[in-house]
Amino acid sequence: METLLYVALFAPLVGSLFAGIYGASPKTLLTGIVTSALIFTSFVASLLLFLHLYSGGERVHVEMMDWIMAGDLNVPFGFVVDQVSVTMMLVVTLVSTVVHIYSMGYMEKDKGFNRFFSYLSAFVFSMMVLVMSDNFLGLFIGWEGVGLCSWLLIGFWYHKESATWAANEAFIMNRIADLGMLIGIFLIYWNIGSLQYDVVFANISNLDITIVTWIGIFLFIGAMGKSAQFPLHTWLADAMEGPTPVSALIHAATMVTAGVYLVIRANELFFLIPDVGYFIASLGAFVAMFAATMALVNRDIKRVIAYSTLSQLGYMFVAAGLGAYWIALFHLVTHAFFKALLFLGAGNVMHAMDDELNIMKMGGMRKVMLGTAVLMLIASVALAGIYPFAGFFSKDKILEVAFDGHHYILWGTLWITAGLTAFYSFRVVMLVFFGSERYKDFGFHPHEAHSYMLWAMAPLAVLAIVAGLFEHQFFDFVHMVLPHYEFSEHTHHMVGQLIIVTTAIAVTGIAIAVFSNMFREGLFSSAFRNNFLYKLFDNQYYIPKIYDEVFSKPYKELSEVFWKQIDMKIVDATVDGIANTLYATGEETRGMQSGNLSYMLRWMVAGLLVLLVSAVAYTYSDVLLTLLQGVAK
């Protein structure tokens, strides 16, 4: 079992290093094949570990070696495979395998082909470290690793100004949140003296509740950054500058769910502080609706899906915040499948349209790319939450949880959001694949993607359809480590009605999207576009602008002051002063080096005298001192 664990963990690293060797050389298909094969190996190892645990095996816990041994601080490189981490491992490696194979087709004309695979595999390795670590510090290393790889991949086309800007934005936003997380980890070490999950969670209930609250808040700030929750959400939509497979893998299926994973992993901590949990749930519900409204009107296919990711992450946080950790994990898993599928489909569309993202310029594309249309339709239905697709089961459970806790406001928000979700996902599908063929006016000649790319997406499509049916098996599997969430009797009776109500609004959303696009082009007429709400949504609530005005511009001005006043006048002046002094001294004394022997001899004598005088003065220093004191008196 230990070997399997090491294989699952290190196969992506080997792949990354292998592709890295060819990083600067021209494209070789070999790198794509080798990295894909190694990720698949990792997937198989994860699957075997899963089967081991599923058949009732003990969790696998290894300590590879000592890492930090300083005083009382003892952090080993330890890894644990239990029901939660194996679920994450399976999702990560499965989606990664698909994305790797898909990328071989997607990136085939790109100069940075080898580099891309190196980064992508490095990301998978970091993500595996994140989910498999048995302590907070290892998790943090993985956390930073995925942040780094995300930065590399968003800015993959570094010659584009917008891509580098987006990469930096994502990195800086995450750094702000990571500071919070780091403080949380410090607090844990300070109060418990260990960072191992086992030790921490065994002792957490002995701590003062205020400290636990602070730990919870700071850890959640870290989670907010990685999972792009309000107010640190702006980076996710901008991260769509990266290649689409990256958006599918990192900014939809895996990395952004790390925040949810952290909350689930630290469930014993968050269990003690229901108030923080309620805050998490409220923020989640707010983000779910907030992001969905932005997705309603956006005309950029990838941004719509990115906002939808934000919205779904909000759903996960509602479940996690209300203590239904297994449901949060369940939605994380199903969401990973259909969202990755949606993004890869969008990638096909983009490729067909020569990287055009505006859905208003598409339409009727099902005629040229039927395979992609079917796959995206499956993903959209799953996202909208229609029975028996995967999204139905997990999303519905979250709504039930909100209803069960008598959080009717949360429930209402999520319920409306479910309708919005259905609307915007079908708005995209309708505008892209149905209706009149607007692309012809713009001179595009779309073509279907390689067949192996579609085949690579097929497993995700199958899972997007059937994953929800395994709800009970999933529950039986994870509840060994995650707490059981008991629904009250009242809710039990209501489940039927709740499902009907939720499905009704989802179907309504779909219907509006379909009909509005069938009879005229889009729901939003030109008059409607001048509406205040439309403008608000379209401009992302003016938040990027506000951030620009409130943070970026004053910061720039402050930097200017520091640059001109402090750096130029103090720091630089000191450094230049030293150099100038030396220079002037040299200029003055270079007369000594006249080359004239006579002068040199005089200087030699002068030096001799100085040495002689100082030697004598040193020898008789005490006598001289007494003399000087006598003079002073």
Binding site: Q593, S594, G595, N596, L597, S598, V605
Partner: protein, 100 residues
């Protein structure tokens, strides 16, 4: 009676004269004379101190210095003659090939 101090004073005076010569003379030949004076000032001091302590080491050193000074002067004068043949002058101010 000529005491120890007298020798030392003589030696110091000779050394100072020699050093003065080194500093102000411009003629290379004169410079040689000045250095010879300085060397012999040291010899006087060595011999006197050696006699004072009844230790022969100092006097032996003096002999060595005389011998080395002789060979040094021989080489020095040789170089000096070659220099004079080449440049027609042994004035220090004309010796400026090292000027940076």
């Amino acid at each position: 009676m000529i005491a120890m101090e007298h020798y030392i004073i003589l030696s110091t005076l000779l050394f100072a004269i020699g050093m003065y010569g080194v500093i102000i003379r411009k003629n290379l030949l004169m410079l040689f004379f000045a250095t010879e004076i300085m060397l012999n000032a040291v010899n006087v001091a060595l011999a006197a101190i050696s006699n004072y302590y009844g230790d022969l080491t100092g006097q032996m050193f003096a002999f060595f210095i005389v011998a080395i000074a002789a060979s040094e002067v021989a080489i020095g004068l040789g170089l000096l003659i070659i220099w004079f043949k080449r440049h027609g002058s042994i004035d220090l101010d004309t010796l400026k090939s090292m000027k940076g």
